[in-house]
Assembly symmetry: D2
Homo-oligomer: 289 residues x 4
């Protein structure tokens, strides 16, 4: 069996693109981490050291910054699609381009005394919390847009149980009627490749649905909660084909205070680091894969 | 010169204490990272391996969790003071106790449809952004409380210059009339050891003052901005003796788009990682050290 | 289109299993980070909250620790295969089990004076450098073993060029005749599912081949270097079906010292953090996928 | 009480300086992370925004890179001293300069077949493990050199106990006759400010002494082990005034395998993340402070 080149791609990762919109005195900020990649027939570069079909990763970087000006960043998805199209055109040997974007949110700083409080025009504080993401995969055949968020840390202090599970000789876990349920959620949803989407509005609504469903669903397992979250999103957003979750179960163990003469009815916990449960699930439409 | 034991301390670091207040259906959450340390005459432990005066770090951990129940967490400062007092009492050889607390903020999840939106009773989303801190240092002589925050990431997209600086043969930096000013701020302020403080109200107000001063001060250098922030805090809070800042200057470099036929009047930047300027300053009262 | 559950799996991630072999006074240490996952028909758990087919992640954790004793850790691959078999048996609804292991290397501490230097029996220093990995995927049909390493940081101070590349209107990169080539290599190689492999010997030899090929191959691009490394491994190891690389190009930029009256013929560099080139490639046998 | 500027300093942190010595075909690599800071009378910069005495952090960065060429990096200490001297001269308002250096070690890659194995001339693999450090503090009065290492991870699988400790009402820890002792050591030793030191030889020897003492000292507490390590270093190195340790006690908890019908005589442990004991101690000469 001969030895050959298999799947491959290359690009520039983690371009920290910051775009200030200053057309008016009320500035806006788009704070992005942009990664690009090209795939295709780059056999000559791998086997013969021939770079003639290789658009350098440095050029990909330049394009990412230039497009923040030329095309702007109305949404991460719009920007990523435009950038992917350009890269695919610029590299004839490429059959596909991937652009991944993380966007960090900023709030305006609040200034002014009582009765005069207002948002500042050009001073911002980084919001923290979850990061908005998108990944665009463009080829001659399709334009896949998979948007999402990561590091959305949520917790319920009650309304969660875990019992009736399978037991074997290595099972020591007691059943739990009332426990803390917490996770640092990563969600990624794929849009159908058709028509226009209001990317920013869709993002805001999906995020709100995920949070509200997490809050209001009684949980018999993290799996059930994730499925409910996915179902809610698909029911409300027909432009979304499927949604996937990666959810580390951030265990909060009840601390035994009995040795100190104290009861502990769900009040004092230790938040554990490792190991953690890791639950992954996709919710999709029956013919949606 | 004989070889002897010098300064030493020991304790349990990073106890992840989570306290749920569930006295009513509307729960509250206090999410802490607690580190304790004792110092004093522990020579026998170091030189003779004699532990008879050593209160184990495991016991310090137990006490940190027990006090989340027994004393509660009205504020990180209150909790830390109580815990420090207890540890000092429990270890007769100790002459001082230090308790450091980081507190992570959570918001209630928003649920309910239009016109019915409300905050959920027991479902939370971690806020992200800055972390509130306190460090209590307790001895027979004094109770120092140094509170603060860390990772408060702020940015101004204009209203910042840097010029007129000293030049030598290694200076290549051009003067800047209009640049981005950004930092991930750490601030620590020491309270006078007298009377009562409303720790939570003080924290909220100092945070707001820091943000507003950053936003509204025209900056001729990060140093000037920090001093203005410190001055504002000391002017408004007579219970605070001094305030210190550690402020990495998170450089945002203007990208040269001229090779691509594009101008760039303060619109497209690359956010750099390393190296970074690092500015440290204390603002204090004349006799306040 | 109905909404349904798609692909899913669950398990316990990052069990920090440390196994001391102390059958003789000369101890050995196996320091592992173990993650397990089960996949299969877990629809009831997701949709109905029915856990009766769910072997808890806590049980998976217990099994991981118990097997470190019961089965031992002759190699990460052996241990992972045994653990995967057990988990698959214990969960009838599961159709597949995945076990991932990271192994951290330790060296014996060197003791004894001149002429008496020897390795200590039970004192160790962690080696640092790359981490050995394996991922076993077990189902009724196959047992895939994909072993590898991550964070193997290598650098050549000469013998690397990059020129003759494709140029477009966004290209500003000059050609480089002599540059630093550096990467933090992740490699993963899949063994054919047949017969016995001496996992430890294979690992040691693949690692040595990767390093030597990196060192001795003149590089016209990181792509060419990776391909050469993969080819060398496949030529020497017929038990390996394919090998994949993820290689961030850790840029080292030559610093312009001319303003200070100094030349810089490849002597002083700044090691950059972000962005970085990211090169990914698989080398395989023609019918080996 | 008037509000005034207190202690302050500013500089450029984490300059990633890589110096290749290529005077012969057998290259050498010095891989550094360099941070500089100046302190002194910079009141005008803070209060009036007057930069005329401020040597920009950008200039400090340039100087760090230029000195890697002009002065070279015979040792981190030599380089840091030269750089500190230069910065102090260049900034008349400065009364002190601090230069901190981390150095990452690289090994030559081993190439050549059996009987021909040799170290490559210009291909390297990063060693991992501990990082060598130095901090030089220079003023008109003194030149303090504090060298050290960080992240030296060591472990003893026996020869460690912890018992006879102080107990109170919050103590639940059982006594331990035989436990794992592990830490990620940070050590910093201060040289007397007199005469010449062979910095590289001193570093190598101190590192070896720390390791050997850790290995061969029966431990009744981490405190005792640290003191023994410090004492050994001071006894062997009269050029060293004092040595300080920061040592997180990396707990390895014995796993209870009894529920599974297995005994566990010190064989299977879980390595815990948080909380961890944190032991800090200085060993010094009686008049050495």
């Amino acid at each position: 069996m001969a030895i050959v080149l298999g799947p491959n791609q290359y690009g520039k990762a983690e371009n920290r693109v910051v775009r200030i919109v200053r057309d008016t005195p009320r500035h806006e900020i788009h704070d992005l981490n942009v990664s690009t990649a090209l795939r295709g027939d780059f056999t000559a570069a791998h086997i013969d050291g021939d770079q003639s079909q290789v658009l350098p990763t440095d050029t990909q970087k330049n394009t990412a910054f230039a497009f923040a000006k030329r095309h702007g960043v109305a949404s991460p998805e719009d920007y990523a699609l435009a950038l992917a199209r350009r890269l695919l055109e610029a590299a004839p040997a490429a059959t596909g381009a991937t652009v991944r974007v993380e966007q960090y949110a900023w709030d305006r700083i609040r200034v002014g005394g009582p009765g005069q409080a207002r948002d500042h025009d050009h001073a911002f504080v980084r919001r923290g919390g979850e990061v908005r993401t998108t990944e665009v995969d463009l080829s001659a055949e399709a334009a896949h847009v998979v948007s999402g968020l990561t590091d959305l840390v949520v917790l319920k202090s009650t309304g969660s149980e875990f019992k009736g599970f399978l037991r074997d000789e290595y099972t020591t876990l007691p059943e739990a009627d009332d426990r803390i349920l917490a996770t640092s959620l990563t969600a990624r949803w794929r849009y159908f490749d058709r028509g226009r989407v209001d990317w920013n509005a869709a993002y805001d609504d999906v995020r709100a649905l995920l949070l509200a469903t997490f809050a209001t669903t009684y949980s018999r397992a993290l799996q059930e909660t994730l499925y409910a979250m996915g179902r809610t999103v698909l029911e409300a957003h027909e432009e979304i084909a499927e949604i996937s979750f990666t959810a580390p179960n951030r265990h909060h163990f009840l601390v035994d205070l009995a040795p100190f003469g104290l009861d502990n009815p769900g009040e004092v916990f230790i938040a554990a680091d490792r190991p953690y449960g890791l639950i992954e699930a996709t919710v999709q439409r029956e013919e949606g894969a």
